[in-house]
Symmetry: C2
Subunit: 360 residues, 2 copies
């Protein structure tokens, strides 16, 4: 049945093959109702000063009454701009990432940006996810977590003109934000040495993880500067399970490896809190007491570390997220400005898995 002419444009039949269709109030509806042109409606929503107060008020009233919302895709298309940023993280359920993301979100909430989250649990998934995030029109900026920037990935990033901020990793060509992992290792070594340990051991995550190896290197370096050697068999590496060995089981297994080899270190540096927690469980099962028999120090300062009395190196995760967002905004505003690297110093949180250095 033919529609009477001049019928509301929203009443047009839509192709039936659409599963999900979003119709809604458009600027045409507002314009008609308010008796102005669509250009004027658009200007009102873009805070263009070239609209009279009266007209602005009418348009706003009508839009409010009709519940108008600008269509995001149409807006992006016309503006050649999106208001979403993408984060590519290895593992959402890892507290570090979740908390950095939280810091990011908290800072973002003041802006009108939205956050798209991609997951890349293994190294070879990164490129694919980066490609998605960099897909034309998708995101105004990309935040890439803990990824080694080299080879194809490096090229991919360099050839894109979407701003990128690196979190927990480094490349001279991109803005980045990270913790001084070497320094963290050094602090741990010095602290443990001051607390009187003689036989250090390291429980390390996958060595291809840059943070893990930097932490270990810092630790070993500081040890050596004090004349203490980290024996090869006292460095146990695990890349087990999820997320490169940054998990409890890896810590547990690593500790068991040490114990079963008859190695009895009196000071342990774990490259993450979760590894430390796993190790403590292994120690408990083997009836070794902490910190009496062996002192242990983690890395991250998870909220739970406090309730477990774990001495650790704190990373300001929430702050890192906020700062990452700032960097991205900065880069978007000034694409040509020089690359900025923000490095946070980890701070030692002294609790009960170590003997206070002052008592040593």
């Amino acid at each position: 049945m033919p529609q009477p002419e001049g019928s509301d444009r929203r009443e047009r039949a839509l192709p039936s093959f659409y599963k999900q269709v979003y119709v809604g109030i458009t600027i045409y509806d507002i314009a008609e109702e308010a008796g102005v042109s669509i250009a004027t409606v658009s200007r009102v929503f873009n805070d263009n000063p070239r609209v009279s107060e009266g007209t602005r008020a009418i348009v706003q009233e009508v839009a409010e009454r009709l519940g108008y919302q600008p269509h995001v895709s149409a807006r992006s298309l016309a503006r050649r701009q999106t208001e979403t940023i993408s984060a590519i993280v290895p593992m959402l359920s890892n507290y570090f990432y979740a908390e950095v993301l939280k810091g990011l979100q908290d800072r973002m909430s003041a802006s009108s940006f939205d956050l798209l989250v991609y997951s890349a649990p293994t190294l070879d998934e990164i490129e694919g996810q980066v490609e998605k995030a960099l897909h034309r029109g998708r995101s105004a900026g990309v935040m890439l977590f803990s990824a080694p920037i080299k080879g194809d990935l490096e090229r991919q990033l360099q050839h894109s003109d979407t701003p990128v901020v690196l979190v927990d990793c480094y490349h001279p060509g991109f803005d980045s934000i990270s913790t001084d992992n070497r320094l963290g290792g050094e602090i741990a070594a010095e602290y443990l040495l001051a607390a009187g340990i003689r036989e250090p051991a390291v429980l390390m995550a996958n060595p291809h993880s840059v943070p893990a190896s930097h932490r270990m290197q810092g630790f070993r370096g500081a040890l050596e500067r004090k004349g203490v050697h980290l024996a090869e068999d006292h460095l146990v590496v695990s890349s087990d399970g999820y997320h490169d060995g940054f998990n409890e089981q890896a810590g547990y297994d690593g500790m068991m490896t040490l114990l079963e080899a008859g190695i009895r270190p009196d000071g342990i540096f774990a490259t993450s809190d979760v590894q430390a927690i796993g190790a403590m469980d292994a120690l408990r099962n083997a009836h070794h007491s902490v910190p009496e028999d062996v002192q242990i120090i983690g890395f991250d300062d998870l909220p739970i570390a406090r309730y477990l009395g774990l001495t650790t190196l704190r990373q300001p995760m929430h702050e890192m997220g906020g700062r990452a967002f700032d960097l991205l905004m900065e880069r978007m505003a000034h694409p040509e400005s020089t690359v900025a690297h923000t490095v946070f110093a980890p701070s030692l949180v002294d609790r009960h898995t170590t003997r206070s250095a002052t008592l040593a």
Copy 2:
């Protein structure tokens, strides 16, 4: 200087006020290069069978060579469809949410959907975030976590025609996925009773949290059915800090409240693992031993619970996320089908903070 006519359309000058501009290969470029029309190019990318094999191959080759990617906004606009789904979670850094989201992502990765994450740490932020997620053209579906669906929020959701799936909460009008929290409480009570406790106590999160109060109700109900009364002063409620008292500090403080009041329960049910961990710390500081003096049982089964020996009720978080995605897809495919509620039964994970019931 005037451009020679017929210049590549991508060379047009763009308005200078754009901070970030995305230019790129469009179907026009592909069409020109391949010597076909844009319709044909579009058909190739939409797997339309009405394209000859030869043409298809040419278009694909050209697109590949030029690195063509369809523009997401343009596609959404033309198709009146998005391929992003939005999740609104109270707190990303809460393991439960992070893990459910992970499950969701893992299931999504097979599809071409993207995940937008909104954060609503307090109840009054929910509406605003839901409004953003429901914004016209933004998402194909919304996943709402742990939100009490009533009042304005209820109306908001009902008037939207975007599919919605509720996670960790319930409303008869929407698909939902949750854990049987009452049952969890009952299991905890029965287990503790069988393990010989006489004087139960509950460490409960904010009572306006539906999961928290259901867990407590289940616990209390089962107790009463066995003739054991949960004394009023043995139920300590905390809504402290972030996320409604589902945190370590709340558990710690709750336990301290009990201890300072001279109350010495021999069995404690905490409405979450993190609360149980806080409580165990308080107990340790007060030199009460677990499970000898007091048995304790948590809820969630965080990965860490295993390494702490915490007896708890396990929620299948990862699976819940995957299932939530399935529900959403189902709803998108069949908008009129009847509402589905998936309820998972929590399962008891028996560890060392309780005495095995068989020994009681």
